[in-house]
Subunit: 78 residues, 2 copies
């Protein structure tokens, strides 16, 4: 099962100004968002475990978003 | 209306290994993904317009993902 439904994502793209969009564009964005959500969750889970918790909190998510942006920058500088 | 439904995102987080997750963590991830999707769509729309098209394609989405990562790096170096 896909994590995100097609029509609501298409509606969001329209709200962002994209009136005409190929089906493949919506599919591509959906795939990317799903992968990104999985990666961020994995990072948040690591942060939670490191803090001695089993429960992932909102601040774990926020920190993983922040960390991931910093890591991208660091990798690009290697 | 939210672009992404709560339960499928929660299921995706579980699939990524997060067994116990606060409601706020799911909400936070959802908000972030929605904002990110809007931004990426806006970038893709600009790319489509620049190419003289009204239709946003999958390659516009791919290029906007790639561009956005490069821009983040550039901003961090200012």
């Amino acid at each position: 099962m896909a994590a995100f439904a097609w029509s609501p994502l298409r509606a969001l793209m329209k709200k962002a100004g994209a009136e005409i969009v190929s089906r493949a564009a919506v599919d591509k964005l959906m795939d990317y968002l799903e992968e990104y959500a999985k990666t961020l969750t994995g990072c948040a889970l690591d942060i939670a475990k490191h803090s001695g918790r089993k429960k992932v909190t909102a601040t774990d998510i926020l920190l993983s978003i922040d960390n991931r942006q910093k890591m991208k920058i660091a990798i690009s500088l290697i």
